[in-house]
Amino acid sequence: MNEATPLTLAALGGVVSERSGVVNIALEGMMLMSAFTGYVVAFQTHNLWLGVLAGVLTGVLIATLHAALSISLMVDQIVSGFVINILALGITGVFFKGFLQEASVAGPGVLPTWEIPLLSKIPVIGPILFIHQPITFAMLLAIVLIQFLLFYTVWGLRTRAVGEHPLAADTVGINVYLVRYVAVILSGGLAGLGGAYFSLQQIGQFLPNMTGGRGFIALAAMIFGKWKPLGAFYACLLFAGAEALSGRIQITGVHIPFQFLGMLPYLLTIIVVAGAMGRAVAPAADGKPYRKA
């Protein structure tokens, strides 16, 4: 469940963004930047919650850049996402060296574990669902919320319409640009929260490139989950399971070189993407810029 937290948050971001027709490979960069700013703010203010907030805001900010580039300026969405990813690597690298290297020894700690009274006492599902650190709770909440928003509200209907057929949506008076901006920015906020997980909930430190390609694994989970929040969550559990399993095997000392176990999540991603592609159908206008006539 812990490993699945950042994956699911990023995958939800992917779902929201792609449902509106904007491919978001920048999830990786958003998470990395947010992990960094979240850590810096938490370190400077000695307040983990401000750190989490900073992480989310960073995600929102970068998502705005992605939206501006790919929606308004018509940059190829993949190029724009790629740019953001290397920008995030570069900026976190520069600033990490700039003022964090000595400081990282005594970090601000990690978010506390919460136990929901009564509910956590339920056998079996109690500990699984109700004893977690805050970001994991937020993730569980986000799944339900996004599922509801996307499929049971006017906003969700508009977003999906824009992702399937922007021209038709435009004709009936929906502001395609606005809908896409909102979706991408929301996606950035989710990825930002996922990023904060790494530095503030998991280890209480920032390390260069600590997200390690999880933004892309999240995209694969999104595809495997057929662009649905719940589906994406199940896929993320699967990936997280693979990761946890490879860690577990390592401890038991079975004679497999650790590098092969490390490959597992990545290989699984490749297989899933190849296998799911034929059956899962992407939103029809996914990846296509829309130019108002």
Binding site: L73, D76, I86, Q259, G262, Y266, I270, A274
Partner: protein, 345 residues
């Protein structure tokens, strides 16, 4: 001009992180051109950028976004170093050629995997190539850290040194400048010829322009994608082998310094035109060797280069941004289009 913008943004980042941007960029310039042996070092770094930039650019022409150049570079180096140290008593020319061919083969095979996945299943190459990068790093790490390719006589984890006959000759004594540069220069007209003067090149460009039109014209889109991906990987693979034979002469577990990712910026800057790869690769060679000196001299991380890169790409990819900032009368050349009509993420 996009390069200037890149430096402005990077300068801001340096200033914000608490260092002096002028001093940093002066050190960068010194490290790239002025210091003794700076220019040869720049050229040494230019060499892989030419190969890799050609490879990534070739992919772009078919509408393929090969982010896996880094992994293909690793596998190429792995194949190259294996031939380099396991064969002996061959004439230099034969040994070098064999090792380079092995490098091409390694990169080709590694890139063919996402090629097949794309052609057969429609799996988007952006995800599969990135995932294969991680797999390549882990594989190389295994083979060279605790696997069969470790040099038992060395305390540091690395492969054995390659046979002296497999080393690329040094062009200027006292420097690390090696004959690989000449090979890279030779590769430019070859790739240009392939793209602009052969049927394969025509197919690649047609598929990149419109897969639907290509299919209507009787071109096998699947085979073209596969071949392009393979060729692109082959160029990345020769870059890796060339680096082993010319510079390091052995292979440590962590080998490249992100050449494969920088190459994407090189290809975008050159707009995938093989001739334009040369100046673009030279620029990145200078940035690469200069940034190492800068990091040493001013404590500014060499990562600042990726900020330059990102900004450069952003400006190239968004011609509108340019128009808006510089009030150009005529729009610059059209933006690069990569998302092909099918196989969207």
């Amino acid at each position: 001009m996009s390069v200037v913008a890149g430096f402005v943004v990077a300068g801001l980042a340096v200033a914000l992180s608490g260092s002096d941007p002028w001093q940093s960029f002066y050190a960068l310039f010194q490290g790239a051109f002025i210091n003794p042996r700076a220019l040869p070092e720049t050229l040494v770094a230019t060499t892989p950028y030419i190969f890799l930039g050609l490879g990534v650019g070739l992919g772009f022409r078919a509408g393929l976004f090969n982010i896996g150049a880094e992994g293909q570079f690793y596998i190429g180096a792995l194949f190259g170093v294996f031939i380099g140290y396991s064969l002996h008593e061959l004439p230099t020319i034969v040994h070098v050629l064999l090792a380079l061919l092995a490098g091409i083969l390694g990169g080709f095979l590694w890139a063919a995997v996402p090629g097949i996945l794309k052609a057969r299943f429609g799996a988007h190459e952006v995800i599969t190539t990135i995932m294969l990068n991680y797999v390549a790093f882990a594989l190389v790490n295994f083979l060279i850290n605790n696997g069969p390719m470790v040099d038992k006589s060395s305390s540091a984890p690395r492969t054995p040194y390659i046979d002296p006959a497999a080393q690329l000759p040094i062009l200027a004594s006292g420097t690390r400048l090696h004959a690989g540069l000449l090979l890279a220069l030779l590769a430019i007209p070859i790739v240009w010829f392939l793209l602009d003067r052969t049927t394969i090149g025509f197919r690649i460009r047609t598929v990149g322009f419109s897969p639907t039109a290509a299919r209507a014209a009787g071109i096998s889109v699947a085979w073209t994608l596969l071949a392009t991906m393979g060729l692109s990987g082959g160029l990345a693979g020769i870059a890796g082998a060339d680096e082993v034979l010319g510079v390091s002469h052995y292979m440590p577990p962590s080998f490249s310094t992100g050449y494969g990712f920088d190459a994407i910026a090189v290809a975008l800057l050159a707009r995938s035109n093989p001739w334009a790869i040369l100046p673009a690769a030279f620029l990145f060679g200078a940035l690469s060797s200069g940034s190492r000196f800068m990091q040493f001299q001013t404590q500014v991380s060499a990562d600042v280069i990726s900020v330059v890169q990102a900004t450069v790409i952003m400006f190239i990819a968004a011609p509108v941004l340019f128009q808006w900032i510089f009030r150009l009368r005529r729009a610059p050349a059209p933006a690069i289009k990569i998302a092909s009509e099918e196989g969207v993420l």
